[in-house]
C-alpha cells in the first residue's frame, strides 16, 4: 500500500498514489481501515457496494463513507477491496474479518471524510490523491 501521512494539526491527511483509479479507491479504503482498526488479517466476510455520483471526487467520498458505515454496522474490518469504476459509477467487492475488540483496537475512530482539500490528479505514472479524515 502506497500512502503517506501529510501534516495536519487536528485531523489525518493522506496522500495516496496508485496506478489506476480502481486501485486508488481500493488502497484508500484499506488505508482508512488501518487508521481505524490498526492491523487486520485477511477474512472471508464480504459486502458488495454499487454507487454512482456526479464526479470522481464525490464517488470516492461516497465509497469511503459507505465503507465506514458498513464496517461499523456489520462489524467487519475490511482487509481487501476490488473496485471497478466505469465513468462516475463503481462496483466494489470488499472483504474482511469480523471485528474483534481484542485485536482491532489499535487505531482511532474516523468521524467523517471531508471535502476540504480533496484532490485527485492524474499524472504520468498514475493517480495521486490528497484526502482529509476527521478523527
Amino acid at each position: 500500500m502506497s500512502y503517506e501521512e501529510l501534516d495536519h494539526t487536528a485531523d489525518i491527511r493522506l496522500r495516496v498514489r496508485s496506478a489506476t483509479s480502481d486501485s486508488l479507491f481500493a488502497e484508500t479504503s484499506l488505508a482508512m481501515m488501518q487508521i481505524v482498526y490498526g492491523e487486520s488479517r485477511p477474512g472471508t466476510v464480504s459486502q458488495t457496494i454499487e454507487l454512482s455520483a456526479e464526479n470522481i471526487e464525490n464517488l470516492l467520498l461516497d465509497f469511503l463513507s459507505e465503507i465506514l458505515f458498513l464496517s461499523e454496522v456489520e462489524n467487519i474490518v475490511f482487509s481487501s477491496a476490488v473496485v471497478h469504476i466505469t465513468g462516475n459509477s463503481l462496483c466494489a467487492r470488499v472483504t474482511g474479518e469480523p471485528f474483534d475488540p481484542e485485536r482491532h483496537r489499535g487505531g482511532t475512530e474516523i468521524k467523517g471524510v471531508s471535502y476540504s482539500g480533496l484532490r485527485i490528479v492524474k499524472e504520468d505514472e498514475g493517480y495521486v490523491l490528497d484526502i482529509l479524515f476527521d478523527v
Binding site: A10, S65, E72, V73, T108, G112, L118, D134
Partner: protein
Amino acid sequence: MLEQVTRLGEYEWEVPKGTVPGMRVPGRFFLSDSLYKSLEAGAMQQLANVATLPGIIRYSMGMPDIHWGYGFPIGGVAAFELDTGVISPGGVGFDINCGVRLLSTPLTLADLGHRRELIETLYQAVPTGVGAKGPLKLSLGDLGDMMVKGAAWPVDQGYGLLEDLDHCEEQGCMAQAQRDAVSAKAKQRGMPQSGTLGAGNHFLEVQVVKEIYDQDAARAYGISPGQICVMIHCGSRGLGHQTCTDHLKVLEGATKRYNIVLPDRQLACAPLSSPEGKAYFGAMAASANYAWANRQMIMHVTRTVFEKMYRIDYESMHLVYDIAHNVAKMEEHSYEGKRITVCVHRKGATRAFGPGSPDLPPGYIKIGQPVIIPGSMGSSSYLLRGTTTAMERTFGSTCHGAGRILSRSAAKKTINGEKVKNSLSREGIIVRAPNDVAIAEEAPGAYKSSAEVVRIVDALGISNLVARLEPLGVIKG
C-alpha cells in the same frame, strides 16, 4: 495569508476583507504573542473562507484555541441573519454536539482511596474506543424519542435526576429536532452506541478542584477547593457522523442550486429558509439531542460507580453544567442597536452567556453560564463563567479547549505513549486507554497550553476564570 493579518490590540487581530475574494466581513481572532507563533496559515485561510458565506454578520471569528480544521477553523464562530443567511455542516463538524459536562461529588481528595481501582472500574463500566457498544437496547421508537427529548429521555427512564436537565445548555434538548430528517443509516449507527464514549480526544476524567479564582461564582456552581469532580467529553457518535455525511451531500447540491460560490466544498450550505437548510438544521438538532442523552447515560454510569465504591448518595452528585462545542443555534443577540435572532455556528467553540441571559437556571442567572474548558490529558481543566462582554463581542461565545499544536502523526513519531503514561503515573495521574498510540496522540505536548488559552479569554473578558481542576485519572477511548 499570515502577512495580511493586522494587529488591533494586545490580543486582537484582523484578517481584512479582500484577503480571500468575496469576503463579506473581516475576520477577527484573539491570540497572545506566544499563541500567534503557532498559528497556521491554513486556519487563517479557513477563517477568511467563512467570511464569504452569505448573510454572515459582524465578523468571522476565531477564539484563542483557533487551529486548522476543515470547513470552518476549529475555534470558529459565525452568526448569520435569518432572511439572508445560510447554515453549513462545515460550521458544526461531523461530531455534532461534541461537548463536555462537569459532575461534582461530595468527596474530597482524602476520601478518594483505591484510585487505580476506581479508574479501572470506570473503564470497564463506560464503553470506550472503536467498535464499542452501549448498555441500552434501544428500539427504533426509543431512538426517535431520544432524538426528540434529548437528555430528558434517559432521565425519564431513571438514568438521572430532573435537576440535571436545568444544568444543560438548552436544558439538554433542542426543540427544533426532526427525527424524520435523520436517515435510516444514521439511526442504524446510533441505536447500539448510546452511552459510549467514542475514541480520539474523548475522555472521562476524575479531577480535583485545585484553585478557586471567583468565590461567589464557585459557590453558585457548587464548587469548593479539594472537591472531587468528573469531566465527561464526548459527542453524538456514529449517528451524528452519518447525519453530517448525509446532509453535506444534499447541501453540496443545494449550494449549486442557490448559486452560492464557495472557496471550500466543505462549506457546502443552504439558505436557512430553504427546505435543505431546514432539513439539516432539524437533523443536526436531533443529533445534538442524542449527544446530550449520550453524556447523560455516561454520567449515570459514573454516578452508580461512585455510589457503590464510596457509599455516597446518587443524589449528592450534581451536574454543574453541560455545554456543546460543535453546534448551530438560533439565538437572540444585539446587532446594530437592535435585538435580532441569528443562527450562531460554533465549531470547537463554547457558548458563554452572561448574567441575566435566557436559558440559564435560576441559581446561575446572576453569575452567568458555567463554561467548562477541558485541558489536554494530564494538564489542568478550567471552569469559567460567561460574561456581558461575550454577549457584546462574540455572540456569547468563548474558547472550547487547549487546541492542538502538534499533528497526530508528529505526536506519534515524537511521543512515546508508554513513557507518557508512566510519567503521568509518577505525577499521580492514572491513564487507562485501549492502546498507547491513543495516549501519544493526545499527550500534553501535542496541545497548546490550556492555561494560556484561558488567560486570554479572561483578559479579554469573554469569559472569566472561576476554578482550576487537576486530573487524577483518565479513561480514553
